[in-house]
């Protein structure tokens, strides 16, 4: 899932400091699970903004809405009219939600309430860890299900650097050395031969952003739309 964290209140307040009526729009998917931008967090942010305005001797009306997913148009449509009645919208979705919402209500500024950070797994209550860099050329089959591109800060694909130390990374003793993890797991599986080959340089040409992906079943429809 996508992991994000809330921006500091001061930064958010600054974005809407001249507004009298705004909407805070949450997202009920990834950012709700990582406790950054779901319904509860929308409620909290809205209250904080009302209090902050009052402290400044101003008044602000804050409408709270949370949709199932902000990365899908169909979930956003029912609340767009309400959003258009506001001077600004703060989206507490990831960067995808902020952008799609901006496209849908072009005349109203949409501000990000979160900083979008990574895609990761839930490791323990309240703990998320980055595990995939979306490189578009997965080698997890050879590396024992541990991604050296995501787990090694240098993204090394041919083994550890000289900074590895007792299973930890030179960047921080809190980070595991990806290559120690990979080596140990493959040793357990009797599959160290997987990584004795020299892996070729990464193909950054595969990822020229922004990428568009069309499911083959929809390619025809997409082409027709393009012609229309």
């Amino acid at each position: 899932m996508i992991v994000a964290e809330r921006k500091p209140l001061g930064e958010i307040r600054e974005m809407v400091k001249d507004c009298k009526k705004i909407m805070v729009m949450g997202c009920g998917t990834c950012v709700a699970v990582c406790m950054a931008g779901g319904e509860k967090e929308v409620e909290l942010l809205a209250s904080q903004l009302r209090l902050a305005a009052r402290k400044e001797g101003k008044s602000i009306e804050v409408i709270e809405e949370t949709v199932t997913r902000q990365c899908d148009r169909e979930y956003m449509e029912p609340v767009l009219d309400k959003a258009r009645e506001c001077e600004a919208v703060i989206s507490t979705a990831c960067g995808l939600g902020v952008q799609l919402l901006s496209d849908l209500i072009e005349e109203i500024p949409v501000y990000p309430g979160l900083n979008t950070r990574f895609i990761g797994t839930n490791e323990a209550e309240g703990v998320w860890k980055e595990r995939c860099m979306m490189c578009g050329n997965c080698i997890l089959g050879q590396t024992g299900g541990i991604c050296p591109i995501a787990i090694c800060p240098k993204g090394l694909v041919n083994g550890p650097c000289g900074g590895t130390n007792k299973g930890k990374c030179e960047v921080s003793p809190n980070k595991d050395c990806a290559w120690t993890l990979i080596y140990n797991r493959l040793e357990k599986q009797g599959k160290l031969d997987n990584i004795r080959q020299i892996f070729p340089p990464k193909k950054f040409g595969l990822h020229v952003n922004p990428i568009t992906q069309v499911n083959p079943a929809y390619q025809h429809a997409q082409m027709e739309e393009g012609h229309a």
Binding site: K154, N158, G162, G163, E170, Y183, I198
Partner: protein, 295 residues
């Protein structure tokens, strides 16, 4: 044949030393150091933004070493340049008369002085060795023809005291497979341990020349600091005690003595093919270390 390659193939005990380029355009001290050591060693490495601290380019420093009649080894890390940048610097190195390259990963940005810089690591040290070899065949890494090939004596590093050692050796074997001719190791202090590594390295490929890394110890504090903070460096307690026993102000002298003694033993017992001396920040004392080794 380039001078350094000739030295490696001559069967003699090869000596290299490193200079760390300064941060800024005043190279007075660097020039003095180069002058002091250039005739005492077989080649001089120039480090490449060592410890992720921005300094004069390794390529520029190597060119100066060459101009002054020394034999430069271009240290090249993968941290600051993508494959194109590395390739064009390799071409540039060759036309400037720099015939030796040491391929390294490079420290991560966060250990240095440009914390918000983008870490590149487009390719890794193994792929960099492969790239050098490919360019020697007249082809760049994109598969495009060069109008004339490059020629390098190409080396890499290894950390014989890495913990755990398995993943480190697996990578070493890839470097050998990619075609390295020489190795300059991370600092070693326990020669008996190092002998075990040498047995292994000879088995992997006995043609690869191994130069043992000698980092000058400048005091017990420095030794303890390295033990605690530098991965893959283990200074035995006996050496720390020896440094402590030095008279006040004589710790560096003691360090020179220790380095000299180690080099002498490595040479006399024919343990490896040579040494690479890293007198970090005190490059001018390299001749004293060699004198202490009886060289």
């Amino acid at each position: 044949m380039p001078k350094f390659k000739e030295a490696l193939n001559s069967g003699k005990f090869v000596i290299t030393a490193e200079v760390g380029p300064p941060k800024g355009t005043d190279i007075t001290e660097t020039l003095e150091n180069i002058d002091r050591i250039k005739n005492k060693v077989d080649a001089i490495n120039s480090t490449d933004n060592q410890s992720s601290v921005m300094r004069i380019a390794s390529l520029a420093t190597c060119s100066i070493i060459r101009q002054k009649g020394g034999e430069p080894i271009l240290q090249m890390t993968c941290r600051d340049r993508n494959r194109m940048g590395l390739e064009s610097d390799l071409l540039g190195a060759n036309i400037l008369g720099i015939d030796n390259v040491l391929c390294l990963t490079g420290d991560y940005i966060s250990v240095g002085d440009h914390l918000d810089a983008k870490p590149v690591f487009d390719i890794d040290s193994v792929q960099l060795v492969q790239m050098v070899r490919m360019m020697e065949q007249g082809m760049d890494i994109g598969g495009n023809k060069l109008n004339a090939p490059v020629h390098f004596c190409c080396g890499a590093i290894v950390t014989p005291e890495a913990n755990p050692i398995g993943p480190q050796l697996m990578k070493y074997e890839k470097k050998v497979k990619a075609g390295i001719e020489f190795v300059q190791t991370q600092a070693i202090y326990d020669i008996d341990n190092f002998k075990k590594f040498m047995e292994y390295a000879r088995k992997v490929n006995s043609n690869v020349k191994i130069l043992a890394g000698i980092v000058l110890l400048t005091g017990a504090g420095m030794a303890k600091y390295m033990n605690a903070n530098v991965p893959g460096i283990v200074v035995p307690d006996a050496l720390i005690e020896e440094l402590k026993s030095a008279e006040k102000g004589k710790a560096v002298q003691k360090g020179i003595e220790i380095a000299g003694r180690m080099i002498k033993r490595l040479k006399d017992e024919k343990i490896c093919d040579g040494v690479h001396i890293m007198a970090i920040g005190r490059e001018g004392v390299v001749p004293d270390i060699l004198a202490a080794a009886g060289l």
